[in-house]
């Protein structure tokens, strides 16, 4: 339509149709502007993709664990050499099971158990966690002593890494964690069919451990579960009650305004400040135990409350006024109107908001660090008052471990956390789809 290349002189004299509106330039600017928008979205989605790919690619191997299945001889001369298990059952608890495991692997490899140097290497080949595996077998059935049985033992973390191909074997032997001898053994066992890589249930059940192969999220999962239960039990009733008051009963006055301003500000307070509050009030003032899920749950409750209140108020507001008028019109009191008519209709919205609030609380780390959830807890807590950790805190602790195998576990734990969050969010979406009503 326009020709910007026309000589300038022509513009003054020619008909208006030939004037230069700069349309080409303006359309180019329009194009560039659109491009910026697309680039921005691509950057955002690109980072999302990189983030997820990096986590999945580094973390999925944590879900399998190299294990060695060998015939183990439960030799009475090692486990109970004085033959006193009938009178003193503690012998079976404190027996030297690692030697039993070591001997079994040596036998499978054809290594003489008198070869001290080779036995030291074998000791590093099998996880120390085989101690508890074998102990459990013997304690469950002491008659196994003196017999031989096929047992699946965990491989040590370095061997696990080597088996998953994560160790660069071209590096000189003294600069890597796995010796050539151990790699040769690994291949030998593989050929015998003794090596397997089953699903790593230990990742989800074990407690804290300094050995990567026996470290798991068991304590953290139980701790997080307790905390979520506390948040649900405390934040949901309080949040719904507060929203009902503010939405349905509160008069427009200074006090109500003050509450509203408070809620809006609490929603934007940095989460670490809640940790300081928990430390000062719950632990120092009320004397609650450190590292306990109850304190964590209460702190997360206070943090989640604004989210739930805001979601609940929106859900209550979405119930049309005609419902209220109808209820009042047939003689219900205001309280009956709210609890019998408005609240049931708002329930899907409230639950959706609650699940999203819970998901946020599940991923929250900073306040939990301050109330002592950074703890080495090996045994699963049996009540919310026992020391425990939480899922994101466990990730943080593993991230600070130096050993290579913990990197894999860290990413695996991140995946577990993300899977839980995804499930919760999907539940929220389904709930909304299924029950949301458009008026």
């Amino acid at each position: 339509m326009t020709d910007a290349a026309l000589p300038h002189a022509a513009v003054d004299t020619a008909a208006p149709a030939k004037r230069d509106f700069g349309l080409k330039r303006r359309h180019a600017a329009e194009f560039r502007f659109r491009l910026y928008g697309i680039v921005a979205i691509v950057i955002g989605l690109g980072f999302l993709a990189i983030l997820l790919v990096s986590i999945v690619s580094k973390g999925y191997t944590a879900f399998v664990q190299t294990s060695i299945t060998v015939p183990v001889e439960f030799s009475a001369s090692i486990i109970d050499k004085d033959n006193e298990r009938a009178t003193n059952p503690r012998v079976l608890v404190s027996a030297n099971y690692p030697i039993v495991a070591r001997n079994a692997v040596a036998k499978a490899l054809g290594v003489s158990i008198d070869d001290k140097a080779a036995m030291r290497d074998i000791a590093k080949f099998v996880s120390d966690g085989s101690r508890s595996t074998l102990r459990e077998i013997v304690l469950a059935d002491p008659s196994v002593i003196g017999t031989t049985r096929n047992v699946t033992l965990l491989a040590a973390a370095d061997i696990d890494s080597a088996n998953k191909g994560q160790i660069d074997l071209t590096v000189p032997q003294d600069k890597r964690k796995v010796s050539d001898q151990q790699v040769a053994w690994l291949d030998q066992l593989k050929q015998q069919g003794a090596i397997s890589t089953p699903f790593n249930w230990g990742l989800l059940t074990f407690g804290a451990s300094s050995r990567p192969e026996t470290a798991g999220l068991g304590v953290a999962l139980v701790g997080s579960l307790y905390m979520m239960a506390i948040v649900l039990l405390c934040a949901l009733p309080i949040g719904v009650a507060a929203s009902i008051y503010l939405e349905e009963f509160a008069k427009k006055n200074r006090f109500t305004d003050f509450i509203e301003v408070n809620i809006n500000n609490l929603a934007a307070v940095p989460s670490i400040v809640y940790g300081l509050l928990g430390l000062a009030v719950f632990i120092n003032f009320f004397g609650m135990p450190r590292s306990a899920p109850i304190v964590g749950g209460l702190v997360l409750t206070l943090m989640t409350l604004p989210t739930i209140i805001i979601a609940t108020r929106a859900a209550l507001r979405a119930v049309p006024p005609s419902i209220r008028s109808a209820a009042l019109g047939i003689g219900a009191s205001r309280m009956q109107m709210v609890f019998d008519h408005v609240l049931p209709l708002a329930t899907p919205g409230i639950l959706t908001g609650t699940i999203i609030g819970l998901a946020r609380a599940l991923g929250e780390t900073a306040p939990l660090l301050l109330i002592g959830m950074v703890a080495f807890v090996a045994d699963r807590p049996t009540s919310p008052l026992d020391p425990a950790t939480a899922l994101p805190v466990q990730i943080y602790m593993w991230a600070n471990e130096a050993e290579r195998a913990f990197v894999e576990r860290t990413q695996g734990a991140v995946l577990v956390l993300l899977i839980f969050l995804a499930l919760m969010n999907i539940a929220a979406i389904l709930l909304r789809r299924r029950f949301e009503r458009r008026w």
């Binding site: 600017a29 659109r34 990096s54 507060a242 008051y245 503010l246 940095p270 206070l302």
Partner: protein, 489 residues
């Protein structure tokens, strides 16, 4: 009888009261002559009223008595312990030991004549049952702990007896009041209304709790460290003192931490604002509804990912990538450190993209349709309309949104804990590590800590600073947003 049992019994009494009261109201209703007297409330309301009478006063009294009892015992332990001590600074430690001894005596089921006379003997007994006691206890604590236990038992008995009596009395009173014309529904509704009001004051209590707890610890801190040295000090070197040694004066300068906090927040905003704003503009003005409905939830996924995950991403993937990249560019020397302002800023920026874009989306859609149509009708292109009409009109709201985002960046913890490093220094090279207020709060408060040293109290002063900073930004931002929204409504 434990507290849980008392509560359970009180609730059971309430349930029984509910059942019988509702039954009585039902009988009265059925026997009444409607032409003379119409019942006021449904029977269930009479039931609920009795339940309330049976439980609420009893449980409140139970709570109050427990609090009074523990306060009395606490003050008694405090006076007796300080009578035995010359140095009052160790009092809290000794009080703690006395409490441990009390609970050990309870768990070992020792009382009166069975209590051993020396602390060492008790410790050995405790040890054999798997209870660990501190080394530094003294013999005077044993009779004290035993008598505290005895008193506690008496208090408990009184408290529980009173609670149960009150519960029964309340139930009986409510039962005796039941009449046809009793306004039971109104009374129940009044109690419900008050409890709704109480629930909504939790928000106020939380704010008050935050401010008071941090303020008192901060005052405590400033009694040991000059506030001027804190607010204007340029050196951060808290020098962790070993427990009880005391006397090692650290330096608590806020300036390097504040500089790091603001710098990292600035870098993250530099990344997040253009990306987030352009994404919001594109999705609001250009994208088809099909594109929008897939891209928007995907971008919002970024907001749902926990910050610890971003932190891990920074420390495991992005930090080493930048380090290796810079090493490759500069021929071996990695001028970007693995933990750096740049890494932390960019990762935090990614986290903030959905925040910026959803906040500015709200603001942009609030600009009236007429302004947009007017501009387009005058022949402006869409980008001209956006740049010259919509964005200027939305500017105050966008500024508010950016302030809210910045306050998120300042208060963010896990990303900087993992990605920014712990070196407190003032430097403006974005490729090196700096530290932030939140990192130092975490550092000072994790691990074994002695609560009353300035090294830990400083965390509360830092927290209060952070709270004040973010609160001011939020209040101002909300003010701008609200004022702006009113303009077009």
């Amino acid at each position: 009888m434990s507290a849980g049992w008392v509560v359970a019994i009180v609730l059971a009494i309430g349930a029984i009261a509910y059942f019988f009261s509702a039954q009585r109201a039902r009988v009265q209703r059925d026997a009444s002559d409607r032409s003379k007297e119409v019942p006021h409330s449904l029977p269930t309301y009479h039931g609920w009223l009795s339940f309330i009478f049976a439980t609420v006063p009893a449980l409140l009294v139970f709570l109050a008595l427990s609090a009074v009892s523990s306060a009395i015992l606490e003050s008694r332990v405090r006076t007796e312990v300080s009578a035995h001590l010359s140095d009052t600074s160790a009092a809290s430690l000794s009080i703690g030991i006395v409490h441990n001894v009390s609970s050990a005596l309870n768990r070992l089921d020792l009382s009166g004549a069975n209590v051993p006379t020396s602390y060492a003997a008790l410790r050995d007994m405790a040890k054999s049952s798997g209870i660990v006691l501190a080394d530094s206890g003294e013999d005077y604590m044993l009779p004290l702990a035993a008598s505290v236990n005895a008193d506690a038992a008496v208090h408990k008995l009184i408290g529980q007896g009173l609670t149960l009596l009150l519960s029964l009395a309340g139930a009986a009173f409510a039962y005796s009041r039941i009449r046809l014309r009793l306004r039971a529904r109104n009374e129940v509704e009044r109690v419900v209304l008050w409890s709704l009001l109480a629930a909504s004051t939790v928000a106020i209590l939380t704010t008050v709790g935050i401010v008071l707890s941090m303020l008192s610890e901060t005052v405590h801190f400033f009694s040991e460290v000059n506030p001027l040295n804190f607010f204007f000090g340029t050196v951060w070197d808290p020098r962790f003192a070993a427990a009880g040694s005391g006397g090692t004066e650290g330096q608590f300068g806020l300036i390097p931490l504040l500089a790091g906090t603001l710098y990292i927040a600035f870098v993250s905003m530099l990344f997040a604002v253009p990306v987030g704003l352009m994404a919001a503009v594109y999705m609001g003005e250009y994208a088809s509804s099909k594109v929008r409905s897939t891209v928007k939830p995907l971008l919002e996924l970024l907001a749902g990912i926990p910050t610890i995950v971003y932190g891990i991403f920074a420390v495991v993937t992005l930090g080493p990538f930048f380090r290796d990249l810079s090493a490759a560019l500069a021929g071996g020397f990695a001028f970007i450190q693995a933990q750096s302002v740049l890494t932390a800023g960019i990762v935090m920026g990614v986290m903030l993209i959905p925040v910026v874009s959803s906040l500015s989306d709200d603001v942009i859609t609030a600009v009236p349709r007429a302004m947009r149509d007017g501009s387009l009708a005058l022949g402006a292109t869409r980008s001209e309309t956006i740049r010259k009409v919509i964005l200027p009109a939305a500017l105050p709201g966008i500024v508010g949104a950016l302030l809210l985002t910045a306050s998120r960046a300042i208060g963010e913890t896990m990303i900087v804990v993992l990605a920014a490093g712990v070196a407190a220094r003032i430097n403006f090279n974005p490729f090196e590590a700096m530290t932030t207020i939140t990192v130092k709060i975490v550092n000072q408060l994790t691990g074994d800590l002695e609560f009353n040293s300035p090294q830990t109290l400083v965390a509360f002063a830092l927290g209060l600073t952070l709270f004040a900073l973010t609160l001011a930004m939020n209040v101002y931002a909300l003010y701008i947003v609200r004022k702006y929204r009113e303009q077009y409504e």
